[in-house]
Amino acid sequence: MTITVLAFGVAKDIFNAPSIQLELVNDATVMSLKYTLEQQYPRLKQLSSYLIAINNEYALPEDYIHQRDEVAIIPPVSGG
């Protein structure tokens, strides 16, 4: 399946775009998404940490990603 990954903050700089398309196996986990992302964008590994959000909620590594989910990469937040 093809999913869109939204990017914010430093992740947008790393992708050089506000979102990217990514090819994943059906029902991939967050963990496998992160692995795939880091293969294509090695600079992600230099972040102090980052999380994945699915449908506007923080996701756990073992959570599944489905076809039409809104997926986003969340670098360390610094609002306020």
């Binding site: 939204l6 914010f8 903050g9 430093v10 947008k12 700089d13 230099q46 972040l47 102090s48 959000a53 506007n56 909620e57 923080y58 986003a72 969340i74 670098p75 360390p76 937040v77 610094s78 609002g79 306020g80």
Partner: protein, 144 residues
């Protein structure tokens, strides 16, 4: 923004924030104390001169996370009203990125909840700050 009949008022905007509006919104006849936290853009960080800041939000998720924090505050303390406003875009030194206002019958709850809200917001709400210096720019907290 949630309707004003709700005790929770959440806003993310690229317009300037208004301290007067925020403190008036949380006032209630049942309230004896209001605590307001106002974040302001500081002219330096770790000794380096800051020229300006830029804030970017994952708008839909940030609204949800801010509302979660407000609800969690209501669950923990006897509060009247909670307001969380965050600004996005480019801000100059002295401008206001965030206002949190909490009203309660007694000041202890207002102080404690307001502090909880800003501390939690800085940990969980997907908003990012870029600092602009004379010789470059950096997304805060991105790298170790």
């Amino acid at each position: 923004m949630i309707m004003s009949s709700s005790p929770i008022n959440i806003l993310i905007t690229d317009e300037p924030l208004d301290v007067t509006n925020c403190s008036q919104w949380v006032m209630a006849p049942e309230s004896g104390g209001i605590n307001v936290f106002i974040g302001t853009v500081r002219n330096a960080t770790k000794g380096r001169t800051v020229l300006r800041l830029e804030f970017e939000a994952y708008q839909t998720m940030a609204m949800r996370e801010m509302e979660k924090i407000a609800i969690a505050a209501f669950e923990q303390w006897p509060l009247q009203k909670v307001l969380i406003h965050h600004r996005t875009g480019v801000l100059q030194v002295g401008e206001i990125p965030v206002i949190i206002a909490v009203s309660a019958a007694h000041r202890d709850a207002a102080f404690t909840a307001c502090r909880y809200i800003i501390d939690t917001l800085k940990q969980t709400v997907p908003i990012w700050k870029k600092e602009f210096f004379e010789d470059g720019e950096v997304w805060v907290a991105a790298h170790p």
